[in-house]
Symmetry: C2
Subunit: 205 residues, 2 copies
DNA sequence: GTCTATACACCGATAGAC
DNA sequence: GTCTATCGGTGTATAGAC
């Protein structure tokens, strides 16, 4: 029993150090982009030397992989909360889903690149890190099914249209809201295309 | 006169070498991604040593900048041809514009990343290299205006929706056509939203 | 587990001979 | 204009002392 408790404390300590490493890696990524994350600098930021990190991660890619997984887990937590009280109005529900995704993405360009774009040549997420991404998509499917959207192509149009707004925002106006302001119009356009009932979110002049 | 002719030949030679360098850089980028483009390897590919490249480009970034400019010039040439006989039917014209962009983008993932995404930390195109991109957007404005689309937001919806299809295609199904097949549906959705007349491109079952 | 020291490969860029 | 040689730096990763 004593031994058990001791092992648990050690495991907790190791997990804490791992989290500290990943957090430092995120800081560097935000400041200098994903390629700016180097083992040396991550170690320095938490008062370690580079070789010490290899006690906790087998390689730099393992650190990136942990960042990828954590980002999707963070988003999963966000939508778990949001999904609990989506508006009853279908268009408003779609707009809420869209705005939640948009804001999470726009909040952190580097995180979005890591999560959704193939920006790191050679990086492929591990099955473990990919799992929360799969769950996010499954939940989105559930939500859309609740609104009567069951067709795969129709779902693809939703995700790609939304992704397009995010991409343009991040690429061309990273600190503004030029494309965010279009969310309601785009949701109406999509809802009209589906024949979703209810008043439009956006009033054309 | 003789001196003039001699200078011209020298200038042509220099331009040819520059083009050769840029072409070799593209080959490397396609094979190994944009970060895989190194001055050494570009030089080796054309039978030179790395320092010799600095006779033709002041830095590696200058090479990337030339690649950026050339990519947009290439696309400009494509749409100059396509614009000459766009279909009379407005929806068909939109679909042609969309398919032209989509296919050019999907043809070369790395080129698309360089042209349209902020994937290289620290790279900002020079004014000269950016000029053809501006002209492409101006021509798109002309085309859309010809279809009665004059509002900036409405234009932004077109470009972002189209970009979204491309991004999803490249990120999730780079060799397939899962999102390309949605172009007609998406164009109809957009045209319906605008109140564009004419029969739909895509027949819902 | 963390450290120092270091290996090894690679990078962009420059100096100076030819 | 191209070369050889090299600088000063980067990177990931390992060996071995403590």
């Amino acid at each position: 029993m004593l031994a058990k408790a001791k092992r648990d404390r050690a495991a907790e300590q190791r997990a804490a150090v791992r989290a500290e490493i990943v957090e430092a890696a995120w800081e560097l990524a935000r400041e200098r982009g994903l390629p700016g994350v180097t083992v040396r600098d991550v170690a320095e930021r938490i008062g370690m030397r580079a070789p010490s990190l290899y006690t906790h991660f087998s390689s730099k890619m393992a650190i990136i992989d942990a960042m990828f997984g954590q980002a999707w887990i963070d988003y999963l937590e966000v939508i778990r909360v949001v999904d609990q009280d989506l508006p009853a109005h279908p268009r408003a529900a779609l707009a809420t889903v869209a705005r939640t995704f948009f804001d999470f993405a726009a909040e952190d360009l580097v995180r979005y690149q890591l999560m959704n774009q193939r920006t790191l040549p050679g990086f492929t997420p591990s099955a473990e890190s990919y799992a929360p991404a799969v769950e996010v998509l499954a939940r989105l499917d559930d939500t859309l099914r609740g609104l009567g959207i069951t067709d795969g192509e129709t779902r693809d149009i939703f995700t790609s249209t939304l992704g397009g707004l995010v991409d343009q925002q991040l690429a061309n106006d990273p600190t503004g809201d030029r494309w965010r302001r279009l969310i309601d119009r785009v949701i109406d356009m999509y809802a009209d295309h589906l024949g979703l009932q209810g008043p439009p979110l956006w009033e054309q002049s």
